[in-house]
Amino acid sequence: MERIKTIKTRDLKKSVAFGGCGECQTSCQSACKTSCGVANQPCENKQK
């Protein structure tokens, strides 16, 4: 694909099957306390 370079990302659709363990950090606890960003917490699911 000369004109398209796809960056390596986690497939969100596939994560439906192995997600939801809830062990990752609560969005607001790290540094902001005034907004909600959910894309910067690493996944902590060891079963995925």
């Binding site: 694909m1 000369e2 004109r3 398209i4 370079k5 796809t6 960056i7 390596k8 990302t9 986690r10 497939d11 969100l12 659709k13 994560s15 439906v16 192995f18 997600g19 939801g20 809830g22 062990e23 990752c24 950090q25 609560t26 969005s27 607001c28 606890q29 790290s30 540094a31 902001c32 306390k33 005034t34 907004s35 909600c36 960003g37 959910v38 894309a39 910067n40 917490q41 690493p42 996944c43 902590e44 699911n45 995925k48």
Partner: protein, 461 residues
């Protein structure tokens, strides 16, 4: 069902996001135009339109365009482009089926030794009386957390205020108590300390660097900016007092997490200069948040500030890329994206967890949905002895997710903000189900910049 594809151009890159699969594509301008037309036009129309637009380009032939169309279809077939949004019911079911609490913000001190003009906590008092949390109340909060955390191993506790170091001996005793409980209940406590730095000494540094998973150190940046709003009770700027303490704290942190956390206001829309100031002093983990205040406050951000802020976020992203290459990079909280090992779709659609898995505890043991609702009596949920009694309010928060607001349905950014901050929505619109549009605009800009940085790094490899 929606297919949320977002296209934008930034820093010389043409970027295509496929929201529902999480895919990111860096494309050339021809593919960019073809993707834009792909679902709206017939193949023949696309070929004709693109050939006309790029008539002066020898590499843009009918054959080339057809090849590109095939590539796009292949990505769609692989679930990497034009992915359907099929997550709405998951968001509802997931939260309805969970009653776990996994994080508490402990307001150990409703008092402060600074008098910052913009403080959303009204100089630490949260519109109430000054108070310090006792060990007994804090212990009960930890017991409540353990008892309601189900099978979750990682539990988070933030020592917050006001200024938590004004209740330091209680903080230390609570950490010791939690560590005793960990093996009994198979839990792992992660503590955060958020401090203005005034009372940092060697005891605080040594203890926090051993026990605190993360420390958040409040610094607004340049001395004149910091001192303008972050003053002592007697009206003196606090910069000169805290800076040497923060430097020593971070030097001895030994690589553990920390954030220098600033707030920018209408007074410093050129906030990147404050971030660069911190970076130039050797701090590498930085966060800078827009002020949360009443629009009538003199330092409130305005509509006129918005284009300037967008420009600032772009300046920041480009400078971060430059510094990283030069070997003196730093991290900005909102630009941290883990594309390969980031959160699953449940995390991305179920909201921040305030009022359900995350709550704030006052010095008296009263529970609120989060730190930003503390002091607003109609949002009192219950207390750490009897648990949540105000289930009506809790249900309001349980229903906050990436699909709770009509405005979010077609928004490409919802997988990055999960529907946004309920407190911001409430303060801007009077409802936790409202939308704080100003915050959304800034948030989207930040994510565009963060993804551009990932694209830039990938394209240079």
């Amino acid at each position: 069902m929606n297919k949320l594809v977002h296209q934008y151009k930034l820093n010389g890159y043409n970027i295509v996001l496929d929201t529902c699969s999480g895919s990111v594509h860096a494309v050339d301008e021809v593919a960019y135009d073809i993707i834009e037309l792909y679902e709206k036009s017939e193949k023949e129309t696309i070929v004709r339109t693109v050939l006309t637009k790029y008539a002066d380009r020898s590499d843009v032939t009918e054959e080339e365009i057809l090849l590109c169309l095939e590539d796009i279809q292949a990505l769609a077939d692989q679930g990497r482009l034009f992915t359907k949004d099929e997550y709405e019911n998951l968001a509802m079911d997931f939260k309805n089926n969970s009653s776990v609490v996994k994080a508490l913000c402990l307001h150990v001190a409703h008092t402060c030794n600074l008098n910052c003009s913009y403080c959303f906590a009204s100089q630490g008092k949260y519109q109430g009386e000054r108070a310090l949390m006792t060990f007994e109340v804090g212990k009960q909060a930890l017991d409540y957390l353990i008892a309601h955390s189900g099978s979750r191993v990682n539990l988070e506790v933030d020592f917050f205020g006001g200024e938590p170091l004004m209740d330091w001996e209680v903080v230390k005793k609570l950490v010791a108590y939690a560590r005793e409980q960990e093996p009994i209940h198979n839990k792992n406590f992660r503590f955060t300390l958020t401090t203005n730095g005034m009372l940092i000494d060697d005891d605080v540094i040594d203890f926090a660097n051993k026990e605190m998973h993360n420390v958040v150190l409040s610094l607004d940046g340049r001395k004149e900016i910091h001192d303008h709003l972050r003053k002592t009770i007697t009206g003196q700027g606090s910069y000169d007092t805290i800076l040497p303490k923060f430097k020593r704290f971070v030097e001895k942190r030994g690589g553990k997490d920390y954030y220098m956390r600033g707030t920018f206001t209408h007074n410093n829309v050129d906030f990147t200069n404050d971030l660069f100031h911190m970076a130039d002093m050797g701090f590498t983990e930085l966060s800078m948040e827009p002020v949360v205040c009443d629009p009538s406050d003199p330092y409130a951000l305005t509509e006129e500030d918005l284009p300037k802020l967008f420009e600032q976020y772009e300046i920041l992203a480009k400078e971060m890329l430059r510094r990283k290459k030069a070997g003196n990079g730093f991290e900005f909280y909102h630009y941290i994206l883990d594309l390969e090992n980031g959160p699953c779709v449940y995390k991305r659609i179920t909201g921040c967890g305030s009022g359900t898995e995350y709550m704030a505890v006052t010095p008296w043991g009263e529970l609120f949905p989060c730190h930003q609702f503390v002091g607003d009596s109609k949002y009192s949920l219950g207390n750490v002895w009897d648990g949540v009694k105000n289930t009506g309010i809790q249900d309001e928060f349980r229903h906050c997710n990436a699909y709770a607001r009509e405005e979010c349905r077609d928004c490409w950014a919802k997988m990055y903000c999960s529907g946004g901050c309920a407190a911001n929505a409430y303060h801007a619109t009077g409802s936790v189900r409202g939308v704080y549009e100003y915050g959304c605009k800034l948030f989207k800009k930040r994510i565009e910049c963060a993804i551009m940085m990932k694209v830039a790094e990938n394209c240079e490899e």
